[in-house]
């Protein structure tokens, strides 16, 4: 097959698409575009959910590596020593402790059970973007006592009746209001609400934060233990590297990366996502292949006499086959371009209107690799679908084709 033959095959293909049935071309391109969108939409959405969950877990629960009490212990002990050790390691940006205590909040007639997390507010800013999520009031300072920040769902809305609430709240707490907090150890304190935040991560939004100093007052002793220590890795250092470093340098507590935690908590869900993605991909490929196969089969059957004539005047069967092959290639490329355009539109729409649930919010997570991979898969499927009928009809003898 020389350059001239390919040029003629391309000319025949182009003219057939330009001057043949326009509605057939539009419909075929539309179907390929839709199939591409279908192939990429669901995986991107699932990826978005995974990314969202992972990011929120990193931001509000783990950092990059979580140090939790070793088996049989309730707390990470020798906090000062452990923090000093971790913060001195090369791959660590900052390690900061969390101490969680159950409490009952009372505001006017509302009573609500809430987890209170004690944090070191300044260190926390290196690990978590919580301080950027304030929707009212201010973030905590290191020395704050008698002040608390609470999640938006805890604060509630004064305009929503209790029976209409998705989850129980304090019914409309505002910055500056006073809430009474009764801790599990029997200590009760009135707090001024310093700020209200909204992270989109339900675990964090359903909690309240106080400073480490405040919790020491609540417990009535210096606090040298933590429920967990969240560790942020420096840019360029992997979670696994930091985890191994911590273990190597003698952190005796349980050390887990975000990936470790995700595989334990959401591994099954992510596996289900992968299966659904695969099914969706296979269905899309089958639809595209069948549609293109039908389109090209109908085209070739309707053109059998013309194919016979072309062969009669000296057009080689390879040229005829590639003519239909080029038609499929052009249709597939146009369909894929349309599909990418539709997907981008959806991505923009979902950036503006993300899927929001009480637990997480997600947008489409698209990578160039996803687009390239799906484009190639669809392109190969289209080639197979187009070339099979083209090959069959191009092999037909002239007499049979001309009599059609």
């Amino acid at each position: 097959m020389g350059k001239k033959e390919l040029k003629v095959a391309f000319l025949l293909a182009l003219r057939s698409l330009q001057r043949g049935s326009r509605s057939s071309v539009i419909l075929t391109v539309l179907i390929i575009g839709m199939c591409f969108t279908n192939m990429i939409f669901l995986p991107s959405l699932f990826n978005g959910i995974e990314q969202s969950i992972t990011k929120q877990l990193v931001d509000y629960e783990v950092g990059n590596v979580l140090v939790s009490p070793k088996s049989g212990d309730q707390y990470v002990n020798d906090l000062g020593g452990t923090l000093a050790l971790i913060n001195g390691l090369p791959g660590v940006e900052r390690a900061t402790p969390h101490y969680t205590e159950g409490a009952t909040f009372t505001y006017r007639q509302r009573i609500l059970g809430v987890s209170v997390r004690a944090i070191m507010p300044e260190d926390e800013t290196y690990v978590s973007p919580l301080y950027t999520k304030m929707i009212a009031g201010d973030y905590l300072g290191n020395g704050d006592t008698g002040e608390i920040i609470i999640g938006k769902p805890v604060a509630g809305d004064a305009n929503i009746r209790p029976e209409d609430e998705y989850q129980p709240s304090l019914g409309g707490v505002r910055v500056g209001d006073s809430v009474t907090v009764a801790y599990a150890n029997g200590f009760t304190r009135n707090y001024r609400v310093k700020g209200i935040y909204s992270t989109g991560w339900s675990e964090a939004d359903s909690a309240a934060y106080v400073s480490w100093t405040d919790m020491e007052q609540v417990l009535g002793k210096p606090l040298d233990q933590a429920s967990t220590i969240t560790v942020k890795a420096k840019p360029g250092y992997s979670e696994t590297f930091v985890k191994n470093e911590l273990i190597q340098y003698g952190v005796a507590d349980t050390v887990q990366t975000t990936t470790d935690l995700l595989s334990k908590s959401l591994g099954t869900a992510f596996q289900s996502f992968a299966i659904i993605n695969l099914v969706s991909l296979i269905v899309s490929i089958i639809i595209t292949t069948v549609v293109l196969f039908i389109v090209i089969t109908i085209k070739t059957l309707n053109s059998r006499r013309q194919i016979g004539i072309l062969k009669a005047i000296g057009v080689d069967k390879e040229v005829i086959m590639h003519n239909y092959g080029f038609q499929v290639i052009i249709l597939a490329i146009l369909g894929i371009i349309l599909g990418i355009f539709l997907t981008m539109l959806l991505a923009v729409y979902m950036t503006i209107h993300p899927v929001v649930t009480p637990a997480w919010s997600a947008t489409l997570y698209l990578t160039p690799m996803d687009i390239v991979t799906n484009s190639l898969i669809l392109f190969v499927a289209a080639l197979v679908a187009g070339y099979v009928p083209a090959y069959q009809v191009s092999r037909e003898d002239i007499q049979t084709a001309m009599r059609a």
């Binding site: 000319l11 001057r19 062969k311 005047i313 000296g314 080689d316 040229v319 001309m402």
Partner: protein
């Protein structure tokens, strides 16, 4: 130019055997304008298709320009048709999605010994000759039947084939257009010494032929110069 020996074509439809050609032996000289005539079903088109390498004989031998056709493989036959033969069909058989110019240029585009400039010039020359240069950008459906057949002839001769085969080229045309097409064939034959083999069942066409063979039941029943 063409030597045919004891050519047979037998179609089998179940248990029924149809002898479309039954031992045809024939020679055609270069520059001849040969008419193949006969009643419907006499084997005219079958003979034309055998000579034009569009169909395989059941037995017998065809030699064109010293080339034994049965020795050629599928690709060689395609190239033989492209370089040495031209065809004009009853229903014009133009590619509907190509313009007049593209239709006429198509065989030239595929020839390895023709540059784009050469086949374009040849197409322009031939379209000028048949009086359709002003219609070069039109699609076949925008032309009359007579014009389409002239384009079909232009496509057939643009490569300057050794032999031009025409299968009832006037069957779909009125008398005026038929005469125009036949005049064109005569002109090509006389000016370019083009060998033409034309199938026809119209008796008045014979005035254009140098020689006529008549077929009946797949056999040559007469072979003679026009007027003999």
């Amino acid at each position: 130019m063409i030597e045919i020996e004891n050519l047979q074509k037998i179609y089998r439809m179940g248990n029924v055997e149809v002898r479309a050609l039954d031992g045809v032996t024939l020679g055609i000289e270069k520059g001849e304008f040969l008419g193949v005539m006969g009643a419907s079903g006499s084997g005219k088109t079958t003979l034309l298709h055998m000579m034009g390498l569009l169909d395989e004989p059941t037995s017998g031998r065809i030699v064109i320009d010293s080339t034994e056709i049965s020795h050629l493989n599928d690709y060689e036959k395609t190239m033989f048709r492209l370089y040495k033969l031209g065809y004009v069909f009853q229903d014009y058989a133009l590619v509907p999605d190509l313009t007049v110019m593209e239709n006429v240029s198509l065989p030239g585009m595929l020839r390895k010994d023709r540059t784009e400039k050469e086949y374009r010039e040849a197409s322009i020359d031939i379209l000028t000759k048949i009086g359709l240069i002003d219609r070069q950008d039109h699609l076949p459906r925008e032309l009359s039947g007579g014009q389409q057949q002239r384009v079909s002839i232009a496509r057939a001769i643009v490569n300057k084939p050794d032999i031009l085969f025409a299968d009832e080229p006037c069957a779909n045309l009125d008398t005026e257009n038929s005469r125009m097409v036949l005049d064109l064939f005569r002109e090509i034959n006389e000016e370019m010494k083009q060998t033409i083999v034309m199938v026809s069942h119209e008796d008045w066409h014979k005035e254009y032929f140098h020689r006529i063979i008549r077929l009946q039941d797949g056999k040559v029943v007469s072979d003679g110069k026009c007027g003999e």
